[in-house]
């Protein structure tokens, strides 16, 4: 199982990626992880069957800063308060933005929303879920009397969605 | 020159004994009875549904505000059905005039007699219209007359 070192993308915290296989394409400044890929950064995690990581060209050997990651196949983006699932995902470090598309399911505690494209802006904390053009619309259900901001772990009657693979469960607070 | 006897059409004979449904009141009975007499007795798969109504107008109102003559209009909307299928829909009306006698009971009797004559004339008009429609269908001009 290939382990990669911490990559230091812009923004706070190292990026730690683990996967079954790893292919490196120096000249294209690109690394491809495949097989139960988990990219962890601070308290957020991106899981997918296949992730391509793109770097800036570096002057010397090795790679410059990580600019973008493209994930595909059962993509999950997990934060302490929500789990977002999609068919494909793009994590753009420069723009500080994550885009998940294709059968997107957003779960926040007991509240669940579905749509076809979600854009989450990490600086502003604003995420926008949209339906397909002229097709599937956004659908949500909210449970007003349940405090949806409580840490996901404590909301017992709304189990968190299953995330495939053996990815780490890093979020159990002290 | 193309003239055919109206009642000669075989279809018309199938109307003998047509089942007739006219309103629940006196006028309904009179029209139903007159139509049964028009079409004659027999066994028929046809059904005739009638909605009858009558209105009256006072004419020749003179100095003492009394009418000298009345015009009674007896009208009917009717539908000829064969089983559930509507063969023909139509409307007919007859205007029956009668003088107004000065005595009250004579006026009652005159109004009832006008109603009876109106029902008989209406039945005759409906049966003639239906015979004409059947004649037109037979001649290939469709039902509308």
């Amino acid at each position: 199982e290939a382990q990669a070192g911490a990559l230091t993308p812009p923004g706070e915290g190292p990026l730690d990626v683990s996967a079954d296989d790893l292919d490196v394409f120096d000249r294209e400044n690109r690394i491809v992880y495949s097989g139960d890929v988990n990219a962890v950064r601070g308290d957020t995690r991106l899981r997918a069957d296949r992730v391509e990581v793109f770097f800036e060209p570096a002057e010397g050997a090795g790679f410059g800063a990580v600019t973008r990651m493209e994930a595909s196949g059962d993509v999950y983006y997990v934060t302490p308060t929500e789990v977002i699932r999609g068919d494909r995902g793009v994590y753009d470090f420069v723009a500080g933005e994550i885009v998940l598309s294709g059968n997107v399911v957003l779960t926040q505690g007991c509240n669940v929303s579905t749509g076809s494209r979600l854009v989450a802006n990490l600086e502003t904390g604003v995420s926008q879920l949209a339906g397909a053009e002229g097709g599937e619309r956004v659908r949500s259900v909210f449970f007003p009397d349940r405090d949806t901001q409580a840490p996901a772990a404590q909301v017992e009657d709304c189990p968190r969605p299953e995330i495939p693979g053996e990815g780490p469960e890093p979020f159990v607070e002290g | 020159c193309g003239f055919q006897p109206l009642y000669a059409s075989p279809d018309y004979r199938h109307l003998a004994g047509v089942e007739i449904e006219a309103g629940p009141d006196r006028l309904g009975y009179l029209i139903e009875d007159a139509l049964e007499e028009e079409f004659g007795a027999g066994r028929s798969a046809y059904r005739l549904v009638i909605a009858a109504s009558s209105t009256e107008r006072a004419l020749g109102v003179s100095a003492d505000a009394r009418a000298r003559r009345f015009g009674l209009t007896v009208g009917a909307q009717y539908r000829l059905l064969h089983g559930e299928e509507t063969v023909h829909e139509g409307a007919a009306s007859e205007l029956v005039y009668f003088d107004a006698p000065t005595e009250a009971y004579a006026l009652i009797s005159a109004r009832r007699s006008a109603e009876q004559q109106g029902a008989d004339a209406l039945a005759r008009q409906i049966s003639r219209d239906i015979a004409l429609v059947l004649r037109r269908i037979e001649a290939g001009y469709g039902g509308e007359s």
């Binding site: - | 006196r26 028009e38 109102v61 009394r66 205007l95 009797s109 007699s113 509308e144 007359s145």
Partner: protein, 722 residues
């Protein structure tokens, strides 16, 4: 604001939208593009919804529609509610109440119990104009509260605005919530001005006694005479319904003051300068009817038509032809009839039995000469008879007339009639028939003092046999049909001995036209029996086109010939001689114009004895109907009739129309009655100005001219359905 969250766990909120924006920083959700939000039974539709799950606030913006269960939608530009959407504030709020009441407001607060409080709101039943234009009428108020508990809408500082202009002001006003069934309350008043009664104001009050019973009490205040109290009561029972209309006043009688000096010296009445005479007394009228089902086929009923003074109805502008108090028999023509009856109608029979008390409204008419008709009845039935052999029917009847001053008359009859229709070869339609009748009469003559001066009882047996033959031909084509229909009716009837001739109570008017020509009983009653043999001949030619512009034409000519004996009817009937008058009738219909005339021409000189003419015009916005009647009886002493009745309507605009009608007596060259009305009608208002004039010689009453104003604001205090 109500307390947030209710006892049981709140319903989940379902949301559907084009875009959902989750701003975690400020903990707010924005839903946009055709948003639909549902919580329990409440549905909120809007262009955009801002939802704060933590505080439960919901703000909807952009053609907001809030449905609270199946009830009417509440519309607004912007609404702020709690997330159970039960309570909140709406801006630019309008709610459509059932049956078309609409309340709109700048700011609306909606309580948890559903009460809606509008500030600077208005109420109307008219369609809300998209362009914000003023509806035909609305009630604009500083504060409007729609209270669901007592089903009322309350206003403070309310103005009635017509087309945006304030017309009436009141500090406080309330009316029933139109979504609720009928509620007691004041109805819209009517105002009339007439030369006889002066200015009159009628203020009806509806008292809803129960869902099946209501009473309208309407005092009518008038400047020239004492007030009249009008009542209108209705009650519905399980098997039937009773309705009653009445009025009463306490006043002296009056005539036209200008006609006092025309009165004969013998007239005992003492008049004041306004034409009033006699002393104040209680005057009234009652029209009532009830009808109840006894079984599927049988019902019984009654009708009451009575008034204290012959001229009471006419003096106070009540209609002498009552629309209540009818039943089995209508008499009208200035007679009133009270009756009780039972009626049965089955598949094969019809039966009725009634007693009738008739009074006349003619001022110097001896009512004692009018008989009490008790009983009068008829039983018609089809008897079982083999189908191939034709139809057999029976007709049993009875009529008993009892007079205080005049002859009593009792008749009972039993009739059996047979007929059979046969379509012979070549389409000849032959209908032989036969009638047998037995009459029994009992006549009692009395003089003016009620002393019996003679009586006679006799019976008679009558029979008749006839054949009715018609042989219609039709030439059928695409553009229409031509039909020639000759018809002959030959009948021979038994004689009536002189001593078996009763007084003529029920066959007083006979008039020859195309309908009575072929009628089997032309006399119309039982007392006259047309004996002897006669032949009635006639031919109808019809052109019936499908092409619109080619007129439909029908022409009829016919006459009746006595084959023996003397004629039974008098000369005025057209059947007074061996050869009857000629019947000549025609009708032409071109769609927008139709005319039909039925004429009787004198047998000898062909003079026009009688014409009944009907003319109809329907051209675009204008429609008119004319009835012209002309009678030249060749009997001395009978007044000729030359009379025209016109009614016309002109649609001025989509909402304004002008209607008019007139009865003009050409013989005396006087317009007996004329009416003209300007009518405005739209989806929420019916407003009429009616001018009417009457010109009769009755009881020396002044010819009356009156102008009436009737306003109906739908859903507001009106009984008529929209």
């Amino acid at each position: 604001q109500g307390e947030p969250g209710t006892e049981q766990s709140a319903d989940p909120v379902y949301l559907e939208a084009g875009i959902l924006i989750d701003d975690r920083e400020n903990q707010v959700l924005y839903a946009r593009e055709g948003v639909r939000m549902q919580s329990g039974q409440r549905v909120l539709l809007a262009d955009e919804i801002e939802y704060r799950p933590a505080t439960g606030r919901v703000i909807a913006r952009g053609n907001v529609r809030l449905f609270d269960g199946p009830g009417a939608a509440q519309l607004a530009e912007e609404i702020e509610l709690d997330d159970e959407m039960s309570e909140g504030v709406a801006l630019g709020f309008a709610t459509v109440l059932e049956n078309q009441g609409k309340a709109a407001a700048a700011v609306a607060v909606r309580r948890a119990d559903g009460t809606v409080e509008l500030t600077d709101g208005y109420y109307t039943a008219c369609d809300l104009c998209e362009d914000g234009g003023a509806p035909t009428w609305r009630l604009r108020a500083g504060r409007v509260v729609r209270d669901l508990d007592d089903q009322m809408i309350y206003y403070r500082d309310v103005r009635l605005e017509v087309l945006g202009q304030p017309v009436l002001y009141s500090p406080v006003f309330a009316h029933a919530d139109p979504s609720t069934p009928r509620r007691s309350g004041f109805l819209i008043p009517t105002i009339d001005i007439s030369n006889r009664l002066g200015f009159s104001y009628t203020q009806p009050y509806l008292w809803v006694i129960s869902p099946y019973q209501d009473l309208v009490v309407a005092p009518r205040l008038m400047t020239e005479v004492n007030p009249v109290m009008e009542l209108d009561w209705r009650k519905r029972f399980y098997s039937g319904e009773i309705a009653l209309e009445g009025s009463f006043t306490y006043e002296r009688e009056f005539i036209d003051p200008d006609q006092i000096d025309e009165l004969p010296a013998s007239d005992p009445r003492v008049f004041d300068e306004n034409g009033f005479y006699g002393d104040e007394k209680f005057q009234w009228h009652v029209f009532s009817e009830g009808r109840f089902a006894i079984s599927e086929q049988w019902s019984w009923g009654f009708g009451i038509q009575a008034t204290a003074e012959d001229l009471y109805l006419r003096r106070y502008d009540f209609n002498e032809i009552p629309d209540l108090g009818g039943g089995l028999y209508e008499v009208e023509n200035r007679f009133l009839a009270s009756q009780a009856y039972v009626q049965g109608r089955g598949e094969r029979y019809y039966a009725d039995l009634a007693t009738i008390k008739i009074t006349s409204l003619l001022e110097n008419f001896n009512d004692d000469r009018i008989p009490i008709v008790a009983p009068v009845g008829r039983f018609l039935a089809e008897l079982p008879f083999p189908a191939w052999a034709g139809q057999l029917e029976t007709d049993l009847s009875v009529a008993a007339l009892t007079r205080e001053d005049g002859d009593d008359y009792i008749r009972s009859s039993a009739e059996a009639s047979w007929s059979r229709v046969a379509i012979l070869p070549f389409g000849v339609r032959a209908e032989p028939y036969a009638v047998g009748r037995f009459d029994a009469y009992s006549i009692t003559q009395t003089d003016r003092f009620g002393v019996e001066t003679g009586s006679s009882n006799f019976t008679r047996t009558l029979g008749a046999a006839g054949l009715d033959v018609s042989w219609p031909f039709a030439r059928v084509a695409q553009w229409g049909d031509v039909i020639v229909a000759p018809r002959a009716h030959v009948v021979t009837a038994s004689e009536v001995e002189a001593q078996d001739t009763p007084p003529n109570e029920d066959s007083q008017v006979v008039d020859l036209d195309s309908i009575s020509l072929f009628a089997r009983n032309r006399a119309g009653g039982f007392d006259i029996w047309e004996e002897g043999a006669r032949a009635d001949l006639g031919v109808t030619t019809t052109l019936d086109t499908t092409a619109p512009m080619i007129p439909d034409i029908e022409v009829f000519a016919g006459r009746s010939l006595r084959l023996d004996d003397e004629p039974v009817f008098g000369p005025a009937t057209g059947l007074g001689s061996e050869e009857s008058d000629w019947v000549a009738e025609f009708s032409v219909d071109v769609g927008y114009f139709d005319i039909a005339a039925r004429n009787r021409l004198d047998a000898e000189d062909g003079d026009l004895r009688r014409t009944d003419l009907v003319l109809g015009i329907e051209a675009g916005r204008f429609a008119a109907d004319i009835d012209y009647t002309r009678i030249r009886p060749d009997v001395p002493g009978q007044r000729p009739v030359d009379d025209i009745v016109l009614s016309a309507s002109l649609q001025l605009t989509e909402r304004w129309s002008l209607i008019g009608s007139a009865n003009h007596d050409i013989e005396d060259d006087i317009t007996r009655r004329a009416l003209a009305a300007l009518v405005y009608r739209d989806e929420c208002t019916d407003f009429r100005i009616v001018f009417e004039s009457q010109n009769y010689d009755i009881g020396h009453l002044e010819d009356s001219q009156s102008i009436g104003f009737q306003v109906t604001l739908f859903t507001l205090g009106s009984l008529q359905d929209e």
